[in-house]
C-alpha cells in the first residue's frame, strides 16, 4: 500500500537557494584572489572588470527567463527571475562602489565630472540608476500596489538597462569589441523573442501572460 509522500514544501523550493549559493562562487573567488594578491599588476581594474561583467551575466540570465518560457515552455526559470534581477542590481552597485571608493578614492568631484562628461561612465551610470526603480518594486506588495499592467510596463526598462550595459562594455574596450558585441547580440536576440511573441499576441500569449502574473 504505497502512499504518495507528503510534500512539506514546493518541489522547486531548492532552486532559489541553489542559485544564490552558486552566485556566491565568483565573489568568494574574487575576494580570495584579491586577499592573496592574485589579481595581477592592476588588481583594481581587474576587480572592476570582473564585477561589471558579472552584473551583465546576471542581467542577461534574468532577461532569458521569459524567452525560455516562450520558446521551450519551461516555467521554472520564472521562479529565479527576481533573484537574478536583484543579483544583477547588487553586483552593479558593488561595481559602482568599487569605482567610486577605491578607483577614484572618493574624489566625488571627479566622479561627478565623469558621470556628466564621459559618455562611457555616463552610460554605465544611467543603466545603474534605471535599475533602482526595478529593484525597489521587486516585491509582491509593490506589484499589487502598482497593478500588474503598470508593473510590467515599468519592468520593460530592464531591456534599456541591458542595452546600456552592453554599450558601456563596448565603450570600455579600445579595439577588440568582439566580446561586448556577443553580449549585445544575445540581448538583441532575447528582445526579439519578446517582440515577436508580443506581435503574435493571440490567446496563447495572453495565457502566458496570466501564467507570468501568477508566478
Amino acid at each position: 500500500m504505497a502512499t504518495a509522500p507528503r510534500r512539506h514544501s514546493a518541489p522547486l523550493a531548492w532552486l532559489v537557494p541553489a542559485v544564490l549559493t552558486g552566485s556566491a562562487a565568483p565573489f568568494v573567488l574574487l575576494s580570495f584572489r584579491a586577499a592573496t594578491g592574485r589579481l595581477g599588476a592592476n588588481p583594481i581594474a581587474t576587480a572592476l572588470n570582473q564585477l561589471g561583467l558579472l552584473a551583465l551575466v546576471f542581467l542577461v540570465a534574468c532577461l532569458a527567463c521569459t524567452p525560455a518560457k516562450i520558446l521551450f515552455g519551461v516555467a521554472w526559470p520564472i521562479r529565479i527571475r527576481k533573484t537574478l534581477g536583484l543579483l544583477a542590481f547588487s553586483t552593479a552597485c558593488l561595481h559602482f562602489l568599487l569605482y567610486v571608493v577605491v578607483d577614484q578614492g572618493l574624489r566625488l568631484g571627479t566622479v561627478l565630472n565623469d558621470v556628466v562628461k564621459r559618455p562611457f561612465i555616463a552610460v554605465g551610470f544611467t543603466a545603474l540608476v534605471l535599475l533602482v526603480p526595478l529593484a525597489a518594486t521587486s516585491t509582491r506588495e509593490a506589484l499589487t500596489r502598482l497593478g500588474f499592467k503598470r508593473w510590467k510596463r515599468l519592468h520593460r526598462l530592464v531591456y534599456a538597462v541591458a542595452v546600456l550595459a552592453g554599450i558601456h562594455f563596448r565603450m570600455r574596450v579600445k579595439a577588440d569589441a568582439r566580446e561586448p558585441f556577443v553580449w549585445l547580440a544575445i540581448i538583441a536576440a532575447l528582445l526579439l523573442v519578446r517582440v515577436v511573441d508580443g506581435f503574435r499576441g493571440g490567446a496563447s500569449a495572453r495565457r502566458k501572460r496570466s501564467a507570468l502574473a501568477e508566478s
Binding site: G22, L29, L30, G40, A41, I44, K117, R118
Partner: protein, 328 residues
Amino acid sequence: MRPRLDSPKAGEITEDAVYQRRREFMRRAGLFVATSAAWGTGLVALSGRGEADPPKPPPPLPKTPLLRVAERGKYVLDEPSTPYESITTYNNYYELGVSKSAPARSGDRLRTRPWTVSVEGEVAKPQTLDIDTILGWFGLEERVYRMRCVEAWSMVIPWLGFPLGDLLKRLEPTSRAKYVEVTTLLDPGQLPGQNDDVLPWPYVEGLRMDEAMNPLAFMAVGLYGRPLPGQNGAPLRLVVPWKYGFKGGKSIVRIRLTEEQPVTTWNRVAPNEYGFYANVNPLVDHPRWSQATERRIGEVTRRDTLPYNGYAKYVAHLYTGMDLRRYF
C-alpha cells in the same frame, strides 16, 4: 511456520512515508548541489578570467649577461621603479593577445635572433642591418622613465638601450627627412594576435624628426639589466616617455625616414581618439575617459597626470605655437 531468519521484524521496517521523504530529501539535495555547482562554475568561467590568470614566471637572468651597463644615464627618476614582474606581465602588445596578461603568456614565441632591421627612405644609404651590428655601435645606458598608458595607468621602467638620435645620425638622414616611421614585425607565427584583425597589421608608429632627435627619445633593448622579454617588444623597441605608451613601436623590423607624416596605426583606426602626436596631456581628455589622473601600477590612490608626463622642461619647446587640443 517459522519466520524466515533473514527478514527483519515488522517493527524494524522503516515506515514507507519516512523512506519516501528521505528519498525526496536526497533528490532535492542532489539537485541543489548540482545546480549551485554548475551555476557557480558557469559564472566563474564567464566573469573570472582575464587578468586573473597566473602568468608564466619571468625569464631567468642569463648566467652571462648579454647586455652591459656602459653608462648609468642621467635620466633617472627618484620615484620607485615598478617591479619587474608587473612590467613583464601587465602590458599591451595586441600582436600577442588583446588582454593585459596575454603578451606575457606568449612572449617567448618571439625569436629575436637572427633579427634584421631594414633602413629605408630618406637616408644616405638604405640598407638591412643585423641587430647585433646596431648593438655594437652603442654603449648601452639605463634610463628610468615614466610610462603613461593612454588607458590611464602608469609605470616607472628602467630601460636599457641607446638614444634614437644617435642611431638616426649614423643612418645619415637626407635633408628631405622630416619624419621617422618604425614598423613592427609582421609574422602571425610568432605574433599570433596578428591572426585577428583587431588592428591593421603590421603596427606602425612614427615621430617628427625633431622629436626623434630629442635626447629623451630612446631605443630600448633591455629592461632591469636583462634582455627585453618578447612581450615588452624584443629585441628593439621605441620608448618616447613624454607620449602615451602606444607611440612606442615594438619588435621593430623597419625604420623609414619620410618627408610625409607617417600613417600610424591607432591614429588611422580612430583619429578622433588617438592623435599622431599623443603627447601626455592631463587637459585633453580621451573622448571616453579622463586623462587628468592615472593609476601608478602598485598604488591604490590615483595620482595627477603631469603635462608631457613630467618631461615638459625637456620637450615642451618642440610644440611652441601648436594648438595642443587640435594636435593631441
